[in-house]
Amino acid sequence: MRLHAGICGSFPRPQALRKAFDDLSEGKISDGEFKNVLRECILEVARLQEKAGMTILTSGLLSWHDLFRPFTMGLDGLEAGRLIRFFDNNFYYRCPTITGRILWRGPVTVDEVQEVRRNTRELVKAIIPGPYTFLKLSENRFYASEDQLLDDLIEALRAEVNSLRGSADLIQVDEPSLVDPELGRSERLKGIEVVNEFLSRLGMPENEVIIATYFNLDPERYAMLLDLRAGLHVDLRSTPAEADLALKEHGFDGQILSLGVIDSRSIYPEDPREIVYRVRAYLDSISPDVLIFSTSSWLDYIPYNEAVRRLDALGRVLAEAEVRFL
């Protein structure tokens, strides 16, 4: 079993980037000046990840306003709509509003991933929203048929993944709706079908794609996730007792398992040794080729300085696990 560490998705924006966003919207700086700040901040966050011992890096998704926005703005047929609470967080996304046929017109996220690729020897992970969560959290004002909507959405996301393949070693597909407790079992089963259809159209090896869920894991929902033909990221911190039971009851025999062991929504101090001790208890029931230690979800829910501490704790989890597990 190979061990890795990497954050689940985003990292909080550095102060310079927050200011650059404001300056851009007020016309105080040009697009070019903004892009320079963005590039510097991506490198800053990549260096932070390397320094903390991450072996899988992300761009920090620093330009993303929410999970969907780059795609709402970058694909044809979509607009950014009203603000909606993102699950149970004090964080809001703009509802993707479908107003025309969804079409991929060019790379949406490739630049930021390439920026990291050019500056690290570690593995690089790209993130995209998954088709099922995109469907559930958007508003359709165009398609008469949901099947047609899904077909176009999957095709657009597939094209984006294709454009990322030269730059990213791993593709993470975010699908928090697959474990949304507000959805019934039949809806979640449909979600699994949709994601598997997407995976089959991608045609990528199972060890290059991770389906990421977060916030609401329990044994029943976890058992359904095991039908996905890809690696898996699960949040062990939002519902810790249920998640613990899920892993112990159902195990994992796929190729890549990413465990969200660091709570990305809290700043309560983490104890890396205790985390490793807890994960060790799963080793009888899980046997992935690659085990990734990760944050439970995106790090946007905490301030920048606290995210740096979380990153450091994650690095110490990996170091401790390498001693204890290998």
Partner: protein, 329 residues
């Protein structure tokens, strides 16, 4: 001086009112750590204007408009022991706020709201002024905890602190105390509801001659039932207009017979509800409860509306309640 209130369909507000320029200037001073005479004068002027608008609209039970509070959680965090304020955290797009951090044992340091309540009451033309407090569950949910590691322990310490504040308010003469718990309906696992119930016991148990109120809004209110009905609360203040009064069916299911503050104004829309539309909402409430137990108010605080819109909405609300009373008579 006291003012005789109608005995049926009394009108009230949830708490906040659009910020006056004086309040915005006071926030700037506060952020710089300046809470001197100029700051106090600005807050008083803004409070006076909010009270005057509530009186102008004809509201029966007022609030101070929360002109001192830039944020409902940060304000109390700055006044209690045990809290720090974090670096910025994103809420949406590129908009950030500084979230409270629980960094030590939470405790009551000094009176927080008493002077504001006394001032508001002195200019309220004899009408009662309701005090609003951000509840323990919401304070905890909207803070980071790096001290307790236990939601229950932190919430109970918050409740003990607010009990001291409530006792100070009651000693000063306050008779309407409202605990705002908007976070309770966003998550609300059963365990959370039970912990919130323990907190209400601490804050409200044994208080006499006080109307004990809770305001909860925008979430899965249905998840709070039936446990919430056992809380020591006299009046439940809910957002109902925004969800087309669907909550009333649930209340009927549980044979709800306490006082209900019925939301009849959508605070997220600048559309002015016509009097007749508000009267229809009141009629829905009257299908559940007698008019003596029904209070008429907006769904939530008004601070996100423009002042002119808020005032016009309130005027129509008061007129609707007046006409409904006439019809009942």
């Amino acid at each position: 001086m006291s003012c005789k209130l109608p005995d049926k369909l009394r009108t009230t507000v949830v708490g906040s009112y659009p910020y006056f320029p004086e309040a915005l200037k006071a926030f700037q001073l506060r952020r710089r750590g300046d809470r001197g005479p100029e700051y106090e004068a600005l807050v008083r002027e803004a409070t006076k204007k909010a009270i005057m608008d509530y009186l102008d609209a004809g509201i029966d039970i007022l609030a101070d408009g929360e002109q001192r509070r830039e944020d409902m959680a940060v304000f109390f965090a700055e006044e209690l022991d045990g809290f720090e304020i974090s670096e910025p955290v994103r809420i949406f797009d590129n908009v950030y706020f500084r979230k409270p951090v629980i960094a030590g044992r939470i405790g009551w340091r000094r009176e927080i709201l008493v002077e504001d309540w006394k001032y508001a009451s002195s200019i309220s033309a004899g009408k009662p002024v309701k005090v609003t407090i951000t509840g323990p569950y919401t304070m905890y949910s909207w803070s980071f905890d790096k001290f307790y590691g236990s939601m229950r322990n932190a919430i109970l310490d918050l409740a003990e602190s607010f009990r001291k504040e409530i006792e100070a308010l009651v000693r000063a003469g306050a008779t309407f105390i409202q605990i705002d718990e908007p976070a309770l309906s966003t998550r609300a696992e059963k365990m959370d509801v039970l912990i919130a119930g323990e907190a209400f016991e601490i804050m409200f148990k044994g208080l006499s001659n006080v109307k004990r109120i809770t305001h909860i809004c925008y979430g899965k209110l249905e998840r709070l039932f039936p446990e919430i009905l056992d809380f020591p609360i006299d009046q439940y203040d809910f957002e109902t207009k925004n969800r087309n009064y669907e909550l009333l069916s649930l209340l009927r299911e549980y044979s709800f017979d306490k006082e209900l503050a019925l939301g009849v104004i959508d605070v997220h829309s600048s559309r002015i509800e016509p009097v007749e539309e508000i009267m229809e909402g009141i009629a829905r409430g009257l299908e559940l409860l007698p008019p003596e137990k029904l209070y008429i108010k907006p769904d939530c605080g008004l601070k996100r509306l423009k002042r002119e819109v808020a005032l016009e909405k309130l005027r129509n609300m008061v007129e609707a309640a007046r006409r409904a009373r006439e019809m009942l008579a």
